[in-house]
Symmetry: C2
Subunit: 100 residues, 2 copies
């Protein structure tokens, strides 16, 4: 057991902050999927296609610009959004099939 | 041009919220990479390995539990964390090589 007055290790301190940010990411992603679920239902009801390449291109361009401002690799930001959108499209196709 | 009193389309409203959440995700990810950069420098200076499988297993278990609470697919949460950690390990290896 460490001494009560022992300073916390730098690695432990960094990891606590990383864990807090990861919890934020999970909750924001959960909310994002709640919204895209509603988008999927709306698209199904209106007979709109699951994917929209024009919208995706706009999202990617916007997020890459935000990434540059935040000093995050814009190529990583693009891969990240693609990773999320691919999951959303899978969900939309599932929503469509459930009621087909 | 729409009438000033025209109600906004549901799709447009959802997309504005999604865009706000995406900006949040980009800024939180940018801060996460700032922290893992410092972790990488610390590990290099202390001669610690880039990856730590025990830590990763703990992170995955914790985030899957948070995902369940947030009603997010825990398998997606795991793939998401793996996607981010793989990028972090690439960064750590680059940090190590820069000063090798």
């Amino acid at each position: 057991m460490p001494e009560p007055s022992a300073p916390p290790s730098p690695l432990k301190e960094f990891r606590r902050s990383i864990d807090n940010l990861d919890a934020t990411l999970i909750y924001v992603l959960a909310e994002r999927f709640r919204l895209t679920k509603r988008v999927g239902e709306y698209k199904r009801d209106e007979g709109l296609p699951s994917s929209d390449h024009g919208r995706e291109a706009e999202q990617i361009a916007r997020l890459k610009a935000l990434a540059v401002e935040a000093d995050l690799d814009p190529e990583f930001a693009e891969r990240f959004l693609r990773f999320v959108i691919d999951e959303v499209i899978r969900h939309h196709e599932r929503i469509r099939k459930e009621t087909a």
